[in-house]
């Protein structure tokens, strides 16, 4: 941009403000601001306010300012006589599934995206259509697909049995290992319900997001850097470790964090694939607000805690990025 452009810009803005469109503009601006505040900010404030409310037995709930719901979340209703960490445990499982699934997605999406950026522009566009289509495919369809693939009467367990893979596994003794991991019953392998199926589906769910989020950073990578290192005698692995990975460390961490935050709220995959004792906060939120428990204030409390956890993680990621940039 030239100097002349920079000078002419404020003029243009000022002259626009002086013309007759000024009232119309400020009306539009006012309308937009209020719409954004009402729809984007107010719902969150409402959740926060209701999280301090009180449930009335046999009725709905009333406005209040009590910390009971928060106490219940961290130590249980009967504290200090009795302590239960049930709700903290649910939050732990939210983190557990989300951390592993997001890491798995990023690690497996990285080589794919690298290969994608080396293709021609036209080929990239075709791949992107494929990736975007699978990205937008609803969670319910994905869960349905994996459910058919992993269910005991059809899909992989049946395939294992028919091809003799199950018998072979029993012969070499690995079947017992699978049973110890909870991936088999006495007769055949089983994947429902298991952590394996949950993490696989969740990872699958965000995998296209990982590609899309890594894509801009990787497509800006300068291939000549790696080539220079190669000509100086560095091995392929050394180049990846010392040139490629350090230069994309920030987008890698940023992507992982975003996927993690997204997965914190996963609902359908958990209800279908996770064992009931490993259900997460998201499932509990639903049970309280729309489901069997009907305790909206406590559901709101859990939502707020989930939101705070997500924000803390995003903020930590932001700090890490700043530190890495500062060095």
């Amino acid at each position: 941009m030239t100097v002349a452009n920079d000078i002419s810009l404020p003029d243009r803005v000022q002259s626009a403000n002086k013309t007759s469109t000024f009232p119309a503009k400020s009306v539009l601006l006012g309308f937009l601001t209020s719409a954004i505040v009402v729809f984007c900010v107010f719902p969150f404030l409402l959740v926060l306010a209701i999280s301090f409310g009180r449930k009335v037995d046999g009725a709905a709930w009333v406005w209040d300012f009590t910390l009971e719901n928060y106490q219940r979340f961290f130590v249980g209703v009967l504290w200090p006589q009795e302590v239960t960490f049930l709700y903290l445990q649910q939050l732990y499982y939210s983190f557990y599934f989300a951390v592993i699934a997001s890491l798995l997605a990023v690690v497996t999406a990285l080589p794919f995206t690298l290969a994608l950026t080396r293709l021609s522009r036209r080929a990239q566009a075709i791949w992107l259509v494929f990736i975007l289509s699978s990205l937008s495919l609803s969670e319910v369809f994905i869960v349905m697909g994996w459910d058919i693939l992993l269910s005991n009467n059809s899909g992989l367990p049946k395939l294992f049995k028919e091809t003799g893979l199950t018998a072979w596994l029993k012969e070499v003794g690995w079947f017992q290992t699978l049973r110890d991991w909870g991936l088999a019953n006495p007769r055949n392998v089983k994947f429902k319900t298991s952590d394996f199926a949950t993490i696989l589906t969740m990872s699958y769910l965000v995998w296209p997001y990982a590609v899309i989020l890594l894509y801009p950073a990787l497509s800006r990578l300068d291939p000549s850097l790696g080539e220079a290192a190669r000509t100086m005698g560095a091995s392929r692995w050394t180049v990846t470790r010392t040139v490629t990975l350090p230069s994309i460390r920030l987008p890698l961490m940023g992507t992982t964090l975003l996927l993690f935050v997204f997965l914190l709220g996963t609902y359908v995959s958990i209800t279908v694939f996770a064992a009931p004792n490993k259900h997460t906060t998201a499932v509990a939120i639903y049970a309280n607000i729309r489901g069997a428990n009907l305790n909206a204030p406590f559901g709101a409390t859990q939502a707020i805690i989930l939101l705070i956890s997500a924000s803390v993680c995003l903020y930590l990621g932001h700090l890490l990025n700043r530190r890495a940039e500062g060095r």
């Binding site: 452009n5 994608l116 992107l128 289509s133």
Partner: protein, 265 residues
Amino acid sequence: MRTFGTIYMGLASLVLAMPIVVVCGAALNSGRSMFFPPVDPTFVRFGEFFVSEPVWTAALWNSVIVAVGASILAVAMAWPIAYLLWSTGTKLSKTLAGLGSLPFAVPPIVFGVGLGFFWAFTGGLGEIWAGVISHAILLMALPLVTISIGLQSIDRAHLDAAATMGATEQVAFRTVVLPQTIPYTISGLFFVLVLSFNEFIVIFFVSASSYATVTLQIFNSLRNGYTPTMAVAAITFLTVSVLVFSAVARWGDLPRLMGADQSRK
């Protein structure tokens, strides 16, 4: 490296396609249950989904209303914000853009819960127009990004040329800004359309079971076991996505929208 890349991409796309292929194949079953590979393949299920079963036709109609309404509304709200951000860059416009993207950045279940309470108080809970607004707000971040990318691609010299030749801001907007940003606007519209079509958790909370979109109907049916008709829904949705994104790739610059480097071809 090249061969490794090709093999890896092939394997990854195979895993990516696996559940989709299974669902699509299951749609051809003639019986009431899902088998893969399909038993006695038939296209009867397609008729059920689009024409004869009122549960599914109603759900499809609701999905279309919500998706089309939400995409138009989202673009209508995102345009002025993106334009303000680009032309003035004021603090207010930055705040508006930031807050407008907030619902998309937090776990969707939290926003769903918030909107559920919000509509309960304002009388919109279980109304389809509330579903339209909810999706528009949730997905507004997408057209905000695509339109901003489009506006940034405009050469400021064109605007100055228009100004020196005596064009007012309105004329310059109509003749320079608008034509160059139309592909990006439509891309943003399409993104919202497809994602709203497939969105589940927010509409789950704001519909309060008084109406069902296709994704909600599928979730409700999960407990009673799968039917091949559900797989037809999956195929339909997938086809819509592929068509829409192919259109974006054909008439817009998909790699650029996704943030690819411009200098290399």
